[in-house]
């Protein structure tokens, strides 16, 4: 219902939040894809580990910041009294904040994979877990159960 009745001033932060989340989804999926590919193609594991690390640094980190800052921006506009925010907002924060810890671990492991020249299975597994968590968040954000 929000889409048609929100004030125009909410559109820009919503745009940044949605676009940031979509890029975060794609960048995390990239890390999962190249991580699993590196496990099944040992000859290219070093290159694919580097792609995963670069995607983490240049894709996941900036898009998470844009998504999270824009989320706070629009929540501040839509629910000035944070205690009155509905449950679907809390689901978003549950995915983004504990999810940030998961992403930090993912980044450290991706860096170690490059340093040690061998791909860690934990990298694509954590990336897949975060992709699924993002799916839960976009279900909560769009269907608002």
């Amino acid at each position: 219902m929000l889409a048609a009745i929100r004030p125009d001033s909410w559109n820009f932060p919503l745009f940044l939040h949605v676009l940031g989340a979509m890029i975060l989804f794609g960048a995390t999926a990239t890390v999962a894809i190249v991580g699993f590919a590196g496990r099944s193609r040992p000859d290219y594991a070093g290159m694919l580990s580097r792609v995963a690390l670069n995607t983490f640094l240049l894709g996941i980190v900036p898009s998470w910041i844009v998504m999270r800052v824009a989320a706070q921006w629009i929540v501040g506009k839509e629910f000035p009294d944070e205690d009155a925010a509905p449950g679907w907002v809390d689901v978003g924060f549950l995915v983004s904040e504990p999810g940030a810890i998961l992403l930090i671990v993912l980044g450290i492991l991706a860096w170690l994979s490059v340093r040690r020249g061998r791909p860690f299975l934990a990298v694509p597994l954590l990336a897949t877990l975060y992709v699924l968590a993002l799916g839960v968040a976009w279900f909560a954000m769009s269907a608002k159960p």
Binding site: M1, A3, A4, I5, D8, N11, L14, F15, V18, L19, A21, M22, I23, F25, G26, A27, A29, T30, I33, V34, A37, R41, D43, Y44, M47, L48, V51, N54, T55, G59, L134, G135, W138, F139, M141, S142, A143, K144, P145
Partner: protein
């Protein structure tokens, strides 16, 4: 949850797959620009096929459930609204331009496969094809059209 809620979720799922797939393709494409060995370029281009599948499924979901939403939403939207038409045009144009660039990349992957089988030595011709400005422009323009599509969906100008 109402029918509208479910349709919005499925429409958003399509949009995430579409844009997310575009991000995966872009990341792998950019990574290929930094590689010299044909077999490495072939591996990266091969993984782009996963992104292409996500883009196709996402485009279909976003379009089908988006059109259904126009009918189902209680906000008097119409198929003749400018933002609805603009969104459909952007979706088709983005896929057409991206598909054209993708077909050029597929030919480059085929060439990389031939070089990989013939010794896997770096080739200036392959580098030129990977960095072809028309192909890169097609990929980047299709990405920008997707960003514009998201903006249209948020602002819904004229609604």
């Amino acid at each position: 949850m109402s029918t509208y809620d479910w349709l919005l979720f499925l429409h958003m799922t399509g949009a995430f797959l579409l844009v997310g797939g575009g991000v995966v393709a872009a990341a792998l494409n950019i990574a290929s620009l930094r590689r010299d060995r044909p077999s490495e370029i072939l591996v990266l281009f091969g993984l782009i096929r996963i992104a292409v599948a996500a883009i196709i499924v996402g485009s279909v979901l976003a379009l089908v459930f988006g059109l259904w939403l126009v009918n189902e939403a209680p906000f008097a939207y119409s198929y003749s609204d400018g933002w609805v038409i603009a969104a459909i045009v952007l979706l088709i144009a983005g896929n057409a331009i991206g598909g054209y660039a993708g077909s050029r990349d597929a030919r480059t992957a085929k060439y990389a496969e031939e070089l990989a089988a013939a010794g896997d030595t770096p080739s200036k011709e392959l580098q030129a094809r990977v960095r072809n400005p028309i192909t890169l422009a097609g990929n980047y323009v299709s990405g920008l059209l997707l960003v514009a599509l998201v903006a249209i969906m948020i602002w819904k100008p004229g609604a």
